[in-house]
Amino acid sequence: MLSSYFKLAIKVLGRHRFFTFISLFGISFTLMILMVTTSFLETELGSHPPLTEKDRMVLLPRLIMKQMVTDTTWSVDTTMLDGQPAYDSTFTVGKKRQNSYSSSSLSYSFLDRYMRDIPGAEAHSFFCADTQFDIFINGKKLNFKALYSDATYWEIFDFNFLAGRSFQPSEVERQVQVAVLSRKAAVDYFGTTEQVVGRSIEMDGKQLEVIGIVEQPSNSKDYVTSEVYLPLTLMSGSALTETGFHGPFTAVFLAGSPEARSTIVEAIRQKADRIPLPNPEDYNKLELMPATVIGLYAYYMMPVQDDPEGALQMFTLVAVGLMLLFILLPTLNLINLNISRAMERSAEIGVRKAFGAHSGSILAQLVFENVVLTFLGGILGWLFALALIYLVNDSQVLGDTQLQFNTAVFLYSLLICLVFGILSGLLPAYRMSKLHIVNAIKFNNL
């Protein structure tokens, strides 16, 4: 039965080449854009090294200090009493209002003092991803970002090591001058990734021994993407000793399971209330902003202040809304075309019904035909998507992000095709399946 539907579907498509072309054009481009979008989201938010455990991570990128004041309003009412003005004063305690506000990443001393024993966290790491160096080699300038971290950083983020190893706790403690390079940095600096381990790189006035090379993260996030990774004890100046709360550091905590993240988030928030502020006359309220990986991603995209969860909701809403709006037009268009096309086949539908097809099987047949059409469009769209992804990656319009087309994206794409095919085929098919046999046959134009 399916094979006969399939044969017929192909024949019908061949009969009206122009209609088929229009339909395929719409379908393939729509699906191409959906596939590229899926690939983008999967690359940015999927679980790949070094963020394979992203669903167990809680980041603490921001510390906020506020001065809250309570508004007090005096008001004087004048009323006429026995021909004389009378005054009646009232005083209102208003809402708490924010007066000053200061928000930034955190200092090492703050993290070291307050954030080492967060309940629910199996591991934690503090790192600074805020420094850049200009390095000149063979008359060429290289702008290297340096990420300073402790040794647990490498346990939480599972980087793919192309060669060598990460640095050990003892090396961090003893301020050993070692560095891990990204593949790109190794190629830029040494011209190769072969036998680079053991050689040294001159940066920040130091000779650093290269002990490992890691693969570039495909999804660029500022807390994993860097050119050089260094032990945090090599930071210059007073970065580690400064006692203020604001500083260049970020913390990451690893929960036992994705669900356990909420324990960590809650614990961090509660902790903020118990930490005494250094200058209460300037700032009297401390807030910490813990965030999940996806929450933080949304936070950077959406104009929501200090609220990654709110940002994520907004991001989801906007993304789904835009997606629906985008699918709407091609779907309407395809429905419109399908109705015109299906009308032409009313006599065939009539005959099928006369020979015992019930409405359900007519519906199934027409929807199936549309799904076949969508999958043809899907294959074209897939080819276009691969080409577009290649172009996007090649031209680096998305910066360091390299779009991928992996199995997950492929499965999502299949699902998208199916949903699109059923969605756009259902209404016309339903209309046709409800046609009265006698009227259908009268159309008389098989």
Partner: protein, 221 residues
């Protein structure tokens, strides 16, 4: 085999009411070859459609092969049509995108019949109408008479007990028409299939067992 009791069919639009059939009572016994004649617009096609359960009478009772027809849109009715009835139309109504054999297989698609068996049954039906050598052709490659023979093969492939033919020879010249008529008569005689045929052609009608004449929705003989 077919019993129509007090059948009335009224077409209603906002403005006017047209009576297509007015109190028709017909009984077709099993094995009969009945023809229905009458001028254009007398309601003979409507009558045939009602017998074939593809149109619903306004009032009256239809009993086909012992079954009282209730809901016209149910799956059961579709199934019943599929197993008991075969249709032949004046303008053939073959599906152009399908080959001859695929067209003939059509009714079997809606039954639980294996692909191999479908093929065998369709070949047998085509052999019966003398077209076993045209199985892979497409309708556009056939003459009118051949097309109608394919349509007959399609009508008989499911071995229905009743065949309903709406002017099967109407679009054919007399030689081809006679050929079609011969096939139908043989079917009636050899397999005892009940046949109801609507026709314009007096000579064709005379070859059948019984002739019913309609005029303005009423049975006149």
């Amino acid at each position: 085999m077919i019993q129509l009791e007090n059948i009335t069919k009224v077409y209603q639009t906002k403005v006017i009411e047209t009576t297509a059939l007015d109190n028709i009572n017909i009984e077709v016994p099993e094995g009969e070859f009945l023809s229905i004649m009458g001028p254009s617009g007398c309601g003979k096609s409507t009558l045939l459609n009602i017998m074939g359960m593809i149109d619903e009478p306004t009032t009256g009772q239809v009993k086909v092969a012992g079954k009282l027809v209730g809901n016209y849109h149910s799956k059961a009715t579709a199934r019943f049509r599929n197993e008991q009835l075969g249709f032949i139309f004046q303008s053939f109504h073959l599906i152009n995108e399908l080959s001859v054999i695929d067209n003939v297989e059509l009714p079997l698609i809606y039954r639980k019949v294996s692909g191999k068996q479908r093929r065998q049954m369709a070949e047998a039906a085509l052999t019966q109408v003398g077209l076993s050598n045209r199985m892979k052709h497409f309708p556009s490659q056939l003459s009118g008479g051949q097309k109608q023979r394919v349509a007959i093969a399609r009508a008989i492939v499911g071995q229905p007990r009743i065949i309903l033919a709406d002017e099967p020879t109407g679009n054919l010249d007399s030689a081809m028409g006679n050929e079609i008529m011969d096939i139908l008569m043989r079917l009636n005689q050899e397999q005892g299939t009940t046949i109801v045929m609507v026709t314009h052609d007096e000579t064709m009608a005379r070859k059948t067992h019984r002739l019913v004449r309609l005029f303005d929705g009423q049975q006149v003989s």
